[in-house]
């Protein structure tokens, strides 16, 4: 230590400048972050809305317009800006003449790395699942994300059986993922070899969601048959 004895050690910088610097930087930082947030918020929300919308039309073949509904214990109600907001959100897709083409709903299950979120389309005409679209996943690139790209796997959802049992309380057959190459029934999903966990997660998500939603939805399906224009959706 180079300070002579007896002299009081003074801090090289008093607290004032330090606090001023930190406060100044924090305020500048806050300003910049809020500015960016405000500038990008509408674009990000638009992106997310478009992603959902595109996904809905992808899983319901032939749909050109959509209407959102909520399922709760009492039945199915159309989503309105001021209406109730609890319940399971589903999207009904309609063709040009306003006829119901199918229902899209969200499903999720634990995959290999994280939750796999997907949207699937249910076609009441064939009582089957017509398509799936992965909304969010964190699976291993090149393996788990084959559930999006593998054409053989995607072909499972051309017409995946989701018939209700006689009493209408559950699915007649559980949707299950089977080992690659052993698919025998219309309600089975042929797994991707090498990505069994991700494939099984898709099957589990679909089964849980369809088993929960369809028994509540089917009795009220007539209410969805014609498109009710609640708010301005025709512009899409």
């Amino acid at each position: 230590m180079s300070t002579p004895e007896g002299e009081v050690m003074k801090p090289a910088t008093p607290a004032g400048p330090m606090i001023r610097t930190l406060m100044g930087i924090a305020m500048l930082s806050g300003f910049l972050v809020v500015l960016t947030y405000q500038l990008t918020k509408p674009i990000i929300e638009e992106n997310q809305r478009r992603a959902i919308e595109a996904a809905v039309f992808q899983v319901i073949p032939g749909a050109v317009a959509r209407q959102d509904f909520l399922i709760d214990d009492s039945g199915v109600v159309a989503v309105t800006p001021e209406g109730p907001s609890d319940g399971i959100l589903i999207y009904a897709g309609y063709d040009n003449d306003g006829r119901l083409k199918g229902i899209a709903a969200k499903a999720a299950a634990q995959g290999y790395a994280d939750m796999i979120h997907l949207l699937y389309g249910y076609d009441p005409a064939c009582q089957c699942i017509r398509g799936i679209k992965v909304l969010k996943l964190a699976e291993t690139p090149g393996l788990g994300d084959k559930i999006i790209t593998d054409s053989d796997f995607v072909a499972n959802f051309d017409a995946l059986d989701a018939t209700l049992s006689g009493d209408g309380k559950a699915l007649a057959h559980d949707i299950v993922t089977v080992k690659h190459g052993t698919k025998q029934h219309a309600w089975e999903i042929d797994a991707i070899s090498g990505a069994t966990i991700s494939s099984k997660a898709v099957g589990k998500a679909l089964h849980q969601s369809a088993n929960g939603i369809l028994p509540k939805l089917i009795p009220h399906l007539d209410g969805l048959a014609e498109r009710v224009v609640v708010n301005d959706e025709s512009g899409d």
């Binding site: 910088t13 930190l22 930087i25 930082s29 992106n47 964190a138």
Partner: protein, 214 residues
């Protein structure tokens, strides 16, 4: 700092990060994103550009404020500045493309703790004029992007049979899947390091040999 600042900007100021002290191939800094997001060329490019932006912006601001930041709080200040620009990049990428954002995942936020950026702030931006700091940061950023691309291109070609998403070999190609998995990152990085070390030694030898013969 009583030492006088050397103000001259030379090619070396820029080239330091690009080649001579390349953050990935020479200094081995910021290995986490290098190994994690280089499974495709487009991810590597996006990550490199995001990091370059943060390097440039934080380098400029730190260099401008270098005389008014007290020594004791400099690390905290640098981190706040870096985190600010990372948040800006995070929102911007979400606005540009949600798919890209999903592909890069948590690694955008993790740019904050990329030791290369803090290292540049501490060792260079806080001691040099803004223009010089920017030149150096640009070199470092391009060097980092170049290194990420080196890995991303090789891993995508071998592991997925494509480049920037375009199929290269047709449907008969059996991808070497391990290359897009974490071990592939280490293998490809090791191969590149080997190549660069070999080049360096060969250069050193050719420079030495004439002297040895005389």
């Amino acid at each position: 700092m009583t030492k006088r600042e050397n103000d001259t900007i030379t090619w070396e100021t820029f080239n330091e990060g690009l080649w001579r002290e390349n953050p990935v191939f020479v200094m081995l800094l910021g290995m986490c994103p290098v190994l994690a997001v280089t499974n495709s060329a487009i991810n590597a490019l996006a990550m490199g550009l995001a990091t370059t932006f943060v390097l440039l912006a934080s380098g400029t601001l730190i260099s401008l404020l270098r005389r008014s930041i007290p020594k004791q709080v400099r690390i905290a200040t640098y981190i706040v500045i870096i985190a600010t620009f990372v948040t800006i990049v995070d929102y911007t990428i979400q606005a540009i493309s949600l798919d890209l954002y999903n592909a890069l995942g948590a690694f955008i936020q993790l740019i904050v703790v990329n030791c290369m950026i803090l290292g540049r702030a501490e060792a260079y931006a806080s001691r040099n004029r803004p223009l010089k700091a920017v030149t150096n940061a640009l070199g470092m950023g391009i060097g980092f992007t170049f290194a990420l691309l080196c890995l991303g291109v090789v891993r995508e070609i071998l592991g997925a049979g494509s480049l920037f998403g375009f199929d290269l070999f047709g449907p008969r190609f059996e991808p070497w899947v391990v290359m897009v998995l974490p071990p592939g990152g280490f293998l490809v990085l090791g191969a590149w390091l080997l190549l660069f070390e070999w080049l360096k030694q060969r250069k050193a030898r050719t420079e030495l040999e004439p002297a040895a013969e005389t």
